[in-house]
């Protein structure tokens, strides 16, 4: 109980510190007092720069991290698989390819990018489900199928970029996997769809908890098991699609964060999901801030940093799973 409260308090404080640090670090910098005064209305030229340059980026990093972590927790509930992650099993790759493909032909539909990303993500999610259903969604097999699906969509995306290059069709710069040059329009998209997805996820915590029971037991309660699975998966796809559409493909967050959440706040999805939001936001914000400050003025995308941390973590989880057997 106390461990749970402390964990929530610590992650919240760290998130606030990270926001401040991220906002005030870089080519334009300022101290805490100056920052807070400016935040509450004091005129400050530096703050105006920070606001336009860094706030969109910070907000997008926070929402992308929260969305991807919660998506991971939801997928793990619905697949009863601790290794499920939108990036690892190809949902992000599907979303990334589809949104880029459609927006390149129909650039005026920019505001609907998340919708197209959703279609691509849903397609990938459906394929993974369908292809590993027979094995009872056995964790290893699901991951293998997911990696294959992910490879296909990543390949399609790269091929598409090449073909467009030959034919002199320009691809919108925002589809490259990073968080630079984010505008307030993109923030609006992220916040709007992201909030919808996160609120839906919170409403579904009881369903997620129910799915920890055996199928036949859940059915004996008259609970619409299949509907619940589809709804939860759809919300997970929605969340990862928005994050991918705005911030690019970022893997492993949805794997790492819910795992840590379970360790710190227990297995009740009410806490897993709330904690994942905060901790996911924190992680991506840190990754993005480090990425742009470590080798400034060059940048390392947050997705690259996540791959470096996340890959070994997946191996660690797989090894632990082996020992459990």
């Amino acid at each position: 109980m106390t461990k749970r409260i402390i964990s929530f308090a610590v992650v919240t404080v760290l998130l606030l510190v990270a926001i401040f640090f991220s906002a005030t670090t870089g080519s334009v910098s300022m101290g805490l007092g100056e920052f807070i005064r400016a935040l509450f209305g004091e005129q400050n030229a530096d703050f105006a720069v920070i606001k336009d340059l860094r706030f969109p980026r910070i907000i997008i990093a926070i929402f992308a991290g929260a969305a991807l972590s919660v998506a991971g927790a939801l997928l793990q509930a619905v697949m009863r698989n601790p290794l499920a992650d939108a990036g690892v099993i190809g949902i992000s790759a599907g979303a990334g390819f589809m949104s880029m493909f459609i927006i390149t032909f129909l650039p005026t539909l920019f505001f609907f990018t998340p919708l197209f990303a959703f279609i691509g993500g849903a397609l990938a999610c459906f394929l993974v489900f369908a292809l590993s259903w027979k094995s009872g969604l056995e964790p290893m097999r699901l991951i293998l199928v997911g990696i294959a699906i992910s490879a296909v969509f990543t390949g399609l995306r790269e091929a598409f970029i090449m073909i467009c290059g030959y034919m002199n069709v320009t691809i919108d710069g925002s589809f490259t996997s990073n968080m630079t040059m984010k505008t307030w329009t993109e923030v609006e998209i992220m916040v709007l769809y992201g909030t919808v997805g996160l609120v839906l996820a919170v409403l579904l915590v009881k369903w997620c908890n129910l799915l920890t029971l055996d199928d036949k037991t859940v059915r004996s309660l008259g609970f619409p098991l299949m509907t619940a699975r589809i709804v939860i998966a759809a919300v997970a796809v929605l969340l990862s699609a928005i994050a991918t559409a705005v911030a690019g493909v970022i893997s492993f967050v949805g794997l790492l964060i819910p795992h840590i959440a379970r360790r710190l706040v227990g297995n009740d999805y009410k806490y897993v999901i709330l904690f994942s939001m905060l901790a996911g936001a924190l992680l991506i914000l840190i990754a993005d801030t480090l990425g742009r400050t470590l080798v400034a003025p060059q940048e390392i995308p947050a997705s690259t940093l996540m791959a470096i941390i996340g890959g070994p973590f997946l191996i660690f989880l797989l090894r632990r799973g082996d020992r459990a057997k």
Binding site: T212, L213, T217, L221, G222, P224, N267, D268
Partner: protein
């Protein structure tokens, strides 16, 4: 509850239940016995709508059980399966509260009625002092009682149990069967269960269904159903069946 000409085949090659017809007496303990593969669990799964029949009909209150909405049916009949995956770290109370799902609508908060049903289920299964414990911290017998408490929280008139004693030590087996008897007597629950141990079936049931190869071979009061000839015909085992003053009918297997 009536079972009328029920035939069920999982794979089409053989009938796991063949033209089974019987009635489950209301307010009584009915136990289905028979060797492995005789169809006893299959029959229980048919009654609880977990398996669809190939032909025939099961009715509850003169209505085809398949005609009930899922939640409506779950307010009339609850089932506890033999094996349950233990969700990590969920508290006893949280788990028992899942039994209220058939009474709840999406997003509606837990009502006073729900709280009362949960308290009642916990007290009937003697788990009130364990309500905040996590399931992993309980013994096998206590865990099995938690699953029963969850079924009780559904507030049904019929409770089905699939081999409830299988994974328990004899002490907890008796404890559990005493609980079942108590639920039947004090709360007038209709009990339908599958048991492996024939003597437990003899001792705790009002009504016995003996099955072999997907058929009901005999049914009725325990002492009428279990005879030396039937035990030999159904199980291929010679036995002695005798009356004990305290225990009633007792069956002792002798040789194969």
């Amino acid at each position: 509850m009536n079972i009328e000409h029920v035939t069920l085949s999982y794979d089409g090659s053989r009938n796991h239940l063949e033209d089974v017809s019987t009635a489950i007496p209301k307010g009584k303990i009915t136990t289905i016995i028979g060797p492995n593969g005789s169809g006893k669990s299959t029959l229980l799964n048919v009654i609880s709508r977990n398996h669809k029949v190939s032909s025939g009909l099961v009715t509850l209150e003169q209505k085809d059980i398949l005609a009930f909405k899922p939640k409506e049916f779950a307010r009339k009949l609850a089932i506890v399966y033999q094996h349950n995956t233990t969700p990590e770290e969920l508290t006893v109370e949280k788990l028992v509260a899942f039994g209220r799902v058939p009474h709840q609508r999406f997003l509606k908060r837990q009502t006073v009625e729900d709280d009362e049903a949960i308290d009642w289920a916990l007290s009937a299964t003697n788990l009130l002092d364990k309500r905040d414990r996590s399931l992993t911290a309980l013994s096998g017998g206590e865990r099995q009682r938690v699953w029963i408490a969850m079924a009780l929280a559904q507030r049904t008139s019929i409770l089905c149990l699939d081999e409830p004693t299988t994974y328990l030590d004899i002490y907890y087996q008796l404890e559990l069967l005493d609980l079942v008897k108590q639920l039947n007597l004090e709360h007038e629950l209709t009990i339908v269960m599958v048991l492996h141990d024939m003597n437990q079936a003899l001792r705790y049931s009002d009504h016995i269904l003996m099955m072999k190869d997907g058929h009901i071979i005999a049914e009725g009061a325990p002492e009428e159903v279990v005879t030396v000839e039937r035990v030999y015909n159904v199980y291929g085992v010679t036995s002695r069946v005798y009356q004990d003053e305290e225990l009633g009918t007792v069956m002792m297997p002798v040789s194969r």
